[in-house]
Symmetry: D2
Subunit: 251 residues, 4 copies
Amino acid sequence: MKKVLIAGATGSMGRKAVQLIEKQSDYQLVAILAPNATADTKLPAAVSRFDNLADINLAADVWIDFTTPQAVFANVKFALEHQMRPIVGTSGLSAEQVQQLQAIAQQQQLGGIIAPNFGLSAVLLMKFAKEAAHYFPDAEVIEMHHADKLDAPSATAITTARLIAANRKKNPAKTNMATEARGADYDGIAVHSVRLPGYVAHEQVLFGGPGEALTIRQDSFDRSSFMQGVQVALEKVMDLQELVFGLEKIL
Amino acid sequence: MKKVLIAGATGSMGRKAVQLIEKQSDYQLVAILAPNATADTKLPAAVSRFDNLADINLAADVWIDFTTPQAVFANVKFALEHQMRPIVGTSGLSAEQVQQLQAIAQQQQLGGIIAPNFGLSAVLLMKFAKEAAHYFPDAEVIEMHHADKLDAPSATAITTARLIAANRKKNPAKTNMATEARGADYDGIAVHSVRLPGYVAHEQVLFGGPGEALTIRQDSFDRSSFMQGVQVALEKVMDLQELVFGLEKIL
Amino acid sequence: MKKVLIAGATGSMGRKAVQLIEKQSDYQLVAILAPNATADTKLPAAVSRFDNLADINLAADVWIDFTTPQAVFANVKFALEHQMRPIVGTSGLSAEQVQQLQAIAQQQQLGGIIAPNFGLSAVLLMKFAKEAAHYFPDAEVIEMHHADKLDAPSATAITTARLIAANRKKNPAKTNMATEARGADYDGIAVHSVRLPGYVAHEQVLFGGPGEALTIRQDSFDRSSFMQGVQVALEKVMDLQELVFGLEKIL
Amino acid sequence: MKKVLIAGATGSMGRKAVQLIEKQSDYQLVAILAPNATADTKLPAAVSRFDNLADINLAADVWIDFTTPQAVFANVKFALEHQMRPIVGTSGLSAEQVQQLQAIAQQQQLGGIIAPNFGLSAVLLMKFAKEAAHYFPDAEVIEMHHADKLDAPSATAITTARLIAANRKKNPAKTNMATEARGADYDGIAVHSVRLPGYVAHEQVLFGGPGEALTIRQDSFDRSSFMQGVQVALEKVMDLQELVFGLEKIL
């Protein structure tokens, strides 16, 4: 029975992670790091609660992190230095920070995973899009989000476009990109952003070739979907030899 | 049995129109205007063939026009002046020319129809989008065409966006239109154009409201679809009191 | 300022209705019928709370009902007999009960609306499907719901199929309906039901004709969408001359 | 420069194959087997034409076969026995025949490919569906074809369902399969068939998991799309060590 510490256990994702661990037969929750927990916070019996990193006086095998951009780097560094394998869903780590953490993991001979997106449908979409790009050099990306999302395109859509561009083996057809309706151009891939109330978070990749089309679409209806990806991480984390970045690396 | 003259009977659309008339029980093809017909051109028996407008020496009840932007105005004027009701699928008439022809039709007390798009799915999409706009002020348009289409967005997509904008009864949500990925802005409606090989001609309208979405999509796989719209025009043309513009007016 | 009584104000839909009324400039909540309300139930000031029909001793202009199949008939009868115009989103009324209530409304010279589905996207889908059937006799319905929904097809899908069948003007193409994969046959329309976790409530109508296709799709992500339909009912209810059945009648 | 013989070069697929070979820089058409060729059949210069298998008196490196179910077995056997690597798009080989041909290929130490479907979008859909099944045990298949297709579901849809079923790692959700609307059950996967005029050949796989969905769709607008798959086969056939069945094996 492996031991788990959850950092950020009282946030919306953290609470789902607590529920997820309770359903595992080979993992057991032993502690939470939760500065914002109150007297009312319900915890399974025999779970220690810590308010600060410095107070943590027990060891776990796995450190699950759903905290804040401000806290995540120190958290994961602490975890690695105390022989805990991190599963990190918190956003906000810079590329340099990720590299630093990967170096520490190597020194400590520990594996783990940092994933900006634990949604399996989004990660599989990217994986399949990358592979389809070998055969279909012509592709466009359409992402659709709720009207309140300010940035466009979404980070996932940009990543998808770049993956496709990097994996094409033939030149795409020439198209007119000069008009606004043709969207944003990322490495030669047109990316379109739809913003409408009612929508949640959705992405489509459209591939076209002579006489045929291939479309891959993912819909995230709510963030509970992330727990499927955390489940995959739990199944693999004890065998990982390094601190990998991106859920797709372990699918 | 009403008589039909088809102008442009040897072009790709004209040939389909000839076949369509052959299937009607209440219409009969009596003549074609076909400057490019050759000795090989097969015609039903008892159909007169004319090379020039000036040669036409018989009267029909209906004039179907699938010719060229250069010829269409003179053709339709001639038809109206000789008491033939026009069904016009040729593109290229300016707004002024349409008005002039409508005035002539009024003088002659003749009805008819000029339609830039005889595709029923496209016309119904516009009709429904216009109506949905009353209830869903938030909408975006995505049109998808083959990679060779140079202009973007398509004329139909622009028309659709303007119809939606003109029929909204509430203010839409504010979204960030400042980035390229958000597409072209037509009267406050974002319009996106996809250009990919394999695709033919397709359009989607996406509506979003609190907790729900409505999507209308049409696919034109080939232009044979236009004949469905011409069929509708044939069923109504003898009863029309004016020269209407747009198939949606008679649906 | 018109007065509103909400029956079922403490249920999930009723609470949303309370919020909706608070946003209206021409309606005011004066009372609730809420047998299950507790001391904790928060109510706007100056709102009367009743536990039983018999206790209601004030008059409102509009009666909004989101109660139970057991209570709804008596509730609406009471409302009409006390000069309140009903807006009814509760399911469970039989066709006979609806007719009885319509007769009472007529005697009382009151209008109102009973709607099995207040989701605007679903109601517009049915309206458009009915209209498209005039031109596209060939149609199929695919509805998609969460894996827990036991019945199939959904009531809305059946209604949609029957509306299409009743409004066709031409015979559809003959297809082989003899294999299971072809779905259920409702008046000659194939209806398919998808049941998958993650999905909420979605319906598509696919129309096909020579060389083209038309698709109408609606997605209900959560039941908050019903309040858009109640809003439409509020805007029209004071002008209705009869007790109409179905939101589509007033769109 | 490798030499190619095309069997069935005057059929609709064979003609496209002739055009495809003309565009290759490392392949050259040297002969056709075409019993139905007429004096009018246009062939590139220096291409031999044979009416019967027995007449073929030259060797090529690759044998492309788009013939008939009656001819294909003898053709491919002949090709292998004469040291030609087969690329076979003809349908109608039984499982036993495929095994016999694979045995001959092994004796002759030749590779090649037999593919029931050379459409890249369909083959990639199956490949991705198989992989997604590891993570999403809940899936349904919807295939859509023109109204004239008599059988349902399509062979590709059945293959897709079986691939998904065979690659699931978890139990799917329990759903009610007892009503007709739930479609046909292939190894626990619901398969739905839509038959509508206008449609060509399309397939969707819908995956659902907690809070998310993944959809893969392919559209075949015309059979010219098969040549993309033949192109891939040409790029790999000289390196194949066995007679593989299914284009997905070499993607």
